[in-house]
């Protein structure tokens, strides 16, 4: 009672606001929840099972596998599942305090390389699966994780280069970073998909997915570089001087002393870049790839399930939201924890 009075009805202006909001919520939420849950169709397998006028979740359930795997052949989907487990496993090494960050990073990169070969089936006895068949959430994750993995080493070099004392290196790195940060991702993707072949020898073709990955990683690399640079700037001069006094050269100083500290500082920033990139991968649908959003959009034109755009978009929204929100919580958690450490 006391709480309600203080927080909702403390003055007449406040009361009015409260009432207005409540009315608005009632007006918007009730029909929404009704459509989403109460009168929605959950069971069945055919279009005719959706007759109640609520959301038709039957369609999502029917297409769920495709939303996850795209056109990846059904009998080979175990590869995707396996690699997802391997990737998650190696990522979780970061949370295990007995494994050093360096080892965990190495494991993640190793699992990515294994993952690529397993999924494509190249250089192994598995039947090859062309990347154009990849799609859905799997493609979204490949683009995000792969793009980041390719971008990460570049980003570190760029960040170091931007702080370099050699003018040419510094100018080059600064220009490179600012160029990619100054243009929209969509033009980068256009560039990668249309212009990249120009730099290759005749007849050699780069896989379309690989091209998108290169585009994504150039873009992500520039943003990551700035995040890492922030971490480098936070390292006190004394650390450099101490390392120099111990006779470590530039690269050793960076590798053993500066980078480990700098990267730990910017973990929240890195995670935020991951979230941004995860959302930005949706842009590949404009260059004709079927990522999670792309495949949902494509399925909206399916004869059987026409007119279910709202369900498709709402489902996509919920999934993206759930993933991004948990990642951002994680980032905030780490930030708080490291702040308490510092104090």
């Amino acid at each position: 009672m006391q709480w309600t009075r203080q927080n909702l009805f403390s003055s007449w202006g406040n009361t009015l606001t409260t009432l207005l909001i409540l009315a608005g919520l009632l007006w918007a939420l009730v029909p929404l929840l009704d459509w989403l849950i109460v009168s929605a169709d959950w069971r069945g397998s055919k279009r005719v099972d959706c007759s109640s006028g609520g959301a038709c979740w039957v369609y999502v359930a029917e297409r769920f596998d495709q939303f996850l795997y795209g056109f990846y052949p059904e009998e080979e989907r175990w590869r995707v599942d396996l690699m997802a487990v391997v990737l998650l496993g190696s990522l979780s090494l970061f949370l295990w305090s007995r494994v050093s960050g360096r080892t965990a990073t190495a494991c993640v990169f190793l699992s990515l390389i294994i993952g690529w070969f397993t999924l494509t089936g190249g250089e192994s006895s598995l039947p090859p699966i062309e990347t154009r068949l990849w799609g859905g959430m799997m493609l979204t994750i490949v683009l995000t994780v792969g793009g980041l993995a390719l971008a990460f080493p570049v980003a570190i070099l760029l960040a170091l280069g931007r702080r370099s004392t050699i003018p040419v290196v510094k100018i080059f790195c600064t220009a490179f970073i600012e160029l990619w940060r100054g243009v929209p991702l969509i033009t980068v993707l256009f560039m990668a998909s249309v212009m990249l072949p120009l730099f290759l020898p005749d007849g050699a073709s780069v896989d379309k997915l690989l091209r998108a990955l290169i585009g994504v990683s150039l873009f992500a690399g520039a943003y990551l570089a700035e995040v890492i640079r922030g971490g480098l700037q936070a390292i006190p001069r004394g650390q450099y001087e101490a390392a120099a006094a111990l006779g470590l050269g530039y690269w050793r100083t960076m590798y053993y002393v500066i980078l480990p500290q700098a990267l730990r500082h910017v973990i929240p920033g890195l995670l935020n870049t991951v979230i941004a990139l995860f959302k930005d991968t949706t842009l590949v649908l404009i260059i004709g790839m079927f990522d999670f959003l792309g495949i949902i959009q494509a399925s909206l034109n399916d004869q059987e399930w026409l007119g279910l755009a709202a369900e498709g978009y709402v489902f996509a929204g919920i999934i993206y939201w759930a993933i991004c929100f948990s990642l951002s919580r994680m980032s905030k958690g780490i930030e708080l924890r490291s702040n308490t450490h510092r104090v």
Binding site: V194, P201, S205, G288, L300
Partner: protein, 338 residues
């Protein structure tokens, strides 16, 4: 700097090798497969089925070339391309044939570094409208909002047509055809305009297809056909003659079903030359005498292809119209094989 200096020779090699043209035929033979650029999904021309196999007349044309060159229609890798990527992919040798519903125009032939090998389908841009608008002719479309796909001649033809007839229109241009359809379906436009074949295909994707009608006017010439890269005449000839072989076979009455028996026992010299029991047309192409026969065995003659994918045996039910043979009132005419 050191890195750059080390990279320089590599760049030089890359660029130097970019200038040389290895024969496409040799490349294809050594790779054992043809890479074929197709559309990203246009029923009747090239569209993936539930298992990811590419179905359609464009796709089958590539299979025919594969049968001619490599002996098997299965030795094709399909690469779905957007219009934007299509020509660059061909220019830079990522694909060996572009067999996608692209229009043969003078600019494309001369400025884009590609050569069209012939015409597989005589198409023309048309209009689809809702029946409820009670429009009978495209001449009544003054002031209409028109949904079109970016990246083909569609936009240009559209504006030419409206300019010629002194009508106004408002273009709503999307990057992908799925989005064009979605917008038309949502009522954003009065008119959906694209190649007529495409209209028939897209109409299938509408909830109630018979509520929409395709107007009689064809406002453009859209000769669709396979294209190859400029500068490799041998490969160009192979692709072009594969197309002629398919059309020629129909004229000669050679079908997928009867080619087996015909190649053994026929006295018709034209057919004998076609199936390779007489003459050496194939040798000149850098192939063997049985080349044309393999094309027909693999996919059938042009008429069979048409009816299977576009005509009465398909869901599209497009009438042959201009795509009949020359001696039946159409435009398809194959030079003689001799």
């Amino acid at each position: 700097m050191q890195i750059l200096r080390n990279l320089m020779p590599l760049v030089v090699i890359v660029l130097a090798s970019a200038g040389t043209n290895a024969g496409t035929l040799d490349t294809v033979k050594s790779k054992g497969a043809i890479t074929c650029g197709v559309s990203q999904g246009l029923p009747g021309f090239s569209a993936p089925d539930g298992k990811g196999n590419w179905i359609g007349i464009d796709a089958d044309f590539c299979r025919a070339v594969a049968a001619v060159v490599l002996g098997s229609p299965d030795k094709v890798k399909f690469r779905p391309l957007s219009t934007k990527e299509a020509f660059t992919a061909l220019q830079f040798g990522e694909i060996h044939i572009l067999s996608r519903n692209v229009t043969w125009t003078q600019t494309r032939d001369s400025a884009l570094g590609v050569n069209f090998a012939g015409i597989l389908y005589y198409d023309g841009q048309g209009f689809m409208v809702r029946r409820s608008l009670s429009v009978k002719s495209a001449r009544e479309l003054n002031g209409a909002a028109v949904c079109v796909n970016s990246g083909s001649t569609t936009e240009l033809n559209l504006s030419d047509y409206f300019r010629t007839h002194k009508m106004k229109y408002s273009p709503v241009v999307f990057e992908k055809s799925d989005e064009v359809l979605a917008a038309y379906r949502a009522g954003r436009c009065d008119v959906f305009s694209t190649d007529q074949s495409g209209l028939y295909a897209q109409r299938l994707k509408l909830a109630k297809a018979n509520e929409h009608m395709i107007l009689p006017e064809i406002i453009s010439k859209e000769p669709l056909g396979p294209a190859v890269r400029q500068g490799d005449d041998q490969w160009f000839n192979i692709v072009r003659w594969t197309l002629f072989a398919l059309v020629g076979a129909e004229e000669l009455g050679i079908t997928k079903a009867n080619i087996g028996s015909l190649s053994k026992n026929t006295g018709n010299p034209e057919i004998r030359r076609f199936v390779g029991t007489e003459g050496k047309a194939g040798i000149n192409l850098g192939l063997d005498p049985k080349w044309a026969a393999r094309a027909v065995t693999a996919v059938g003659n042009y008429g069979e292809l048409f009816e299977k994918h576009l005509g009465k045996n398909s869901r599209l039910k497009i009438s042959r119209g201009l795509n009949r043979l020359w001696n039946k009132g159409g435009l398809h005419y194959a030079p003689p094989i001799r």
